[in-house]
Each structure stands twice: as C-alpha cells, then as structure tokens.
Amino acid sequence: MESMQHTAIVGLVVVACLASAATAETRREYRYPVGPKASVTVDTEYGSISVKPGTTREVVVVALIHSDKAKIDISQEGNRLEFESHLLPGADEQTGRVDYEVTVPPDTTLNLHSSNGPISAERIQADVAVEGATAPVEIRSVGHGHVHVKTMKGTITLSDVRSAHVEITSISGDVHLNSVSGPLVQVNSGSGRIYYDGDFGSGGDYNFSTHTGDIEALIASGASADFTAHSMQGHVQSDVPLKPKENNRFPVEVGRSFFGTVGKAASEVILKSFSGKIRLKQR
C-alpha cells in the first residue's frame, strides 16, 4: 500500500514537472543594429505588441513566449526586420501567446499585427501600420507619416498624432482621436463610435463615416474648418455657431444635416453616418 502511494506521488510530481515544462514562459531578447529609416514587422496571433523609441540605432525585441507551443521566426534583409510568431500544433490562446516589447530608433517604419492582443506604439516619426482584431490599439505621439489602423472590434485610440495621413477602418470598435491632425484623417467605422477632440489642424481633409455608430466632435477654440454633417436616418446637432455656406452638397434637412464654417474654413470636415447620431460641440 505504502509502495502504491509512493508510486502515485512520484507520478504526480513527474506529471507536474512535465506540465510546468510545457507551459514555462521564456523570455528572449533580440538585438539588431539598423541604419536610418529601418522597417520592423511584428506579427503574432496571440499576445500584445508594444513599441517605444530608443536612443540608439538598434532594434531591441523582448519576446515573452508563454509555452513551447509557440516559436518566433525572424528574418532580416538589410534594414528590414520581421518577427513572426509561429504556432505549433495544439497551440491555443494561452499556450500560443507571445508578447513583444519592441524598442526602435524613432524613424523606424512599423508594421504591427496581432489578432488577439493589444497593440501600442508611441513617439515614432515614421509610417505606422497596425492591424488588430479584437483587442485595443493605442498610438501616441506619432507624426509626419502615414498611420493606418484596422480592427474588427478593438477600440482605437490615437493621441497627439500630428501632420499625418491617418486611415482607420473598424467594424465595431470605437475610435478616439485626441489632438489628431492631418493632411488627411479618414475613419470608416460600422457600429463603433467616433470621438474627435481637437482643432482639425490647419488645412486638412477629415472624413468620418459610420453605419450605426455615433460621431461626436469636440472642437477646440481657434479651429478653422468647413463642416458638412449628414445622417441619413439619425439625428444631427451642432452646438457650435456655424457660419452658413452658399453652396451645400445637398439640401439641408432639419435634424438630419448641417453645414457651415468656423474661422477661415481651412480644413474640410465631413461627418457622415447612416443611422448614427452626429454632434458637434465646442470644447
């Protein structure tokens, strides 16, 4: 009997050790010196991606691999680096997870893809292309490049993004734009809400469109823009006194559309929804 108990305990210990080995987290660090205007791609199915600027001309990637069911494929060609999580059979959301913390020179172009983990990038002065799915995307203090973001339902937050070409598509994720100015800021959302807080820059094109999602724009004092708002089946409201325009794109329908300018109408702002509410407010 004692022998059987002993065998059982040993068996349990062995199983526990094997289980622990199978799920052990591994931290890997990769360092690559790069020249100006490098390009870094990170592609993972499960796990987060966070990118921050460094002070050296080196790309540093710290990957937290959550089990031996996930590997990382790395390829480098000149100034272009690609890190791709590679799932082995049986990998799931937990065991297939790889979290990336990336430090890059600020002029590095980024391509970031994660199907299920949050993605963030900050203080980059280059193109940033992000494709998420269900988790949030946050981009902060990025400028002088193209910022392209796509999500299925992950919330998208852009803050302090200046002089950029911003293109955002989301099916049901909310889109928050705080102090974002372009030459071009374009948002295509389905049921997600679009919230803009800023001054609409000085001479850009802003085009926000939703299916059922509401659009709310909070404009800073000193803004200079030409507004067109139209919701086909939703309500529109402007709390901001707008100067009337002579030529409208379509006849004013009370409660469904409004037009007008503030300041010198430097930027063109088009707010369109199929059935969502549109509201323009003064900060």
Partner: protein, 211 residues
C-alpha cells in the same frame, strides 16, 4: 491588397480540368509536401502566368524573367513543407517573387525605388501639356502599347507601378517590400502614371502620323 491577387488564389489559374481545379491549392500543397511531382506541377500551372508576367514587367527581358520565375518557384517549393495555411499560398508566392526580383535588381545596382522626391513640376501640369483633345486617351488602351510604355519607365517608377497597378499590392505593402515610405510609394506611383500617359500619347500620335 487588391482583389485580383486573391482571385488568383481561388484557383482560377490555367487548370482546365475541372477536377484538378476543384482539388484546389490545399490538396496540391499537401501532396507536394509528400514529394508528389504532379502536385508541384498543379501549383506551378496555377500560378505560372502570374509569376512570369510579374517578373517580365519588372525586368523587361523574357529570358531573365524566366530565370527569375524559376528561382521564385524553386524558393517556394523548397519551403512548401513549412507552409502553414493554404489560403495565403498565392500571397506567399507573389511576395516571394517580388523579393526575388527586387534582390536581383539590387544585386545589379539598379534602383528599386526612385530617389527623386519631388511630386510635380510645371512641365507636368495638365494645362501645359502638349496634345489637344484629339490626343486624349480614351476607351481601352492598346495592351501592347501599354506594355511597351511600362518597359520604358525608369526602374524605380516601374517597380512601384507594377506592384501597385498591375499586381494590386497596397502602398503599405509596397513600402515594406521595397523599403520606402508610404508617401514615397504614392508619389512614385503618381509620377509613373504621368510618365506612362506621356509615353502613350506620344505613341498614339506617332501611330496617327504613320496612318
């Protein structure tokens, strides 16, 4: 990426045998992993025109284009065992082809993207262009003329034009593959289209004169 890439992935290649066509890439890839020659041939036939045409557009030399197409297929087939997900097979192949071609251009010291950054000059303004309404490009273009015009493009412009307008890659994909900014890709594309417009008008005028 534009739709035509994926249209190709759906198996609308050269396969005339409906049974083979319905086998689809998925099964061909699985069989290729086992070393089945017929499966490799199915995959080749599905994509040969697309891959070869891409190479030909980029290098404008049939013999060299065939060598590059061969190299792209070989690189792909060597890695077919690692392929995870047949749906992306065509994307994988086309990217690999682009990389093979770009690598070749780089080896030869040819620019894959133009260094010229300015977007337009006064000469390119439509107001100042030669050619009145009779030289407008209208209707469908002569495909041979268009091919010849593309061949005349400087290498950098040609790369971006072929990748975007012929192959259907998006600017962010091109920027990654070529190693330029999205803005640069857009401006190069625009300039390439402007140059092609000039070439085509010139060719049309020449043809009209001969007639």
């Amino acid at each position: 990426m534009k739709p035509h890439l994926t249209n190709q992935a759906a198996g609308k290649g050269d396969l005339t045998d409906p049974k083979l066509a319905k086998t689809a890439e998925a099964e061909a890839i699985e069989r290729a992993k086992q070393g089945d020659e017929a499966a490799f041939e199915v995959l080749y036939n599905l994509h040969k025109r697309r891959v070869y045409s891409l190479c030909l557009r980029m290098v404008s030399n049939p013999a060299q284009a065939e060598d590059l197409a061969q190299e792209a297929f070989l690189q792909l087939f060597r890695k077919v065992g690692t392929f995870r997900g047949e749906s992306a097979f065509s994307t994988w192949l086309h990217r690999m082809t682009v990389n093979v071609v770009l690598m070749n251009l780089r080896k030869k010291g040819l620019p894959v993207v133009s260094l010229e950054e300015t977007i337009e000059t006064d000469e390119e303004s439509p107001k100042k262009e030669l050619g009145g309404p009779d030289l407008k490009l209208a209707g469908s273009l002569d495909r041979l003329q268009l091919q010849r015009a593309i061949e005349k493009l400087p290498p950098g412009y040609k790369t971006i034009f072929v990748l975007h307008d012929v192959e259907g890659f998006e600017h962010n994909e091109i920027a990654t593959m070529v190693g330029c900014s999205i803005g640069n890709s857009k401006s190069q594309l625009h300039k390439a289209r402007l140059k092609l417009r000039d070439y085509l008008k010139f060719m049309r005028a020449e043809k009209a004169e001969k007639q």
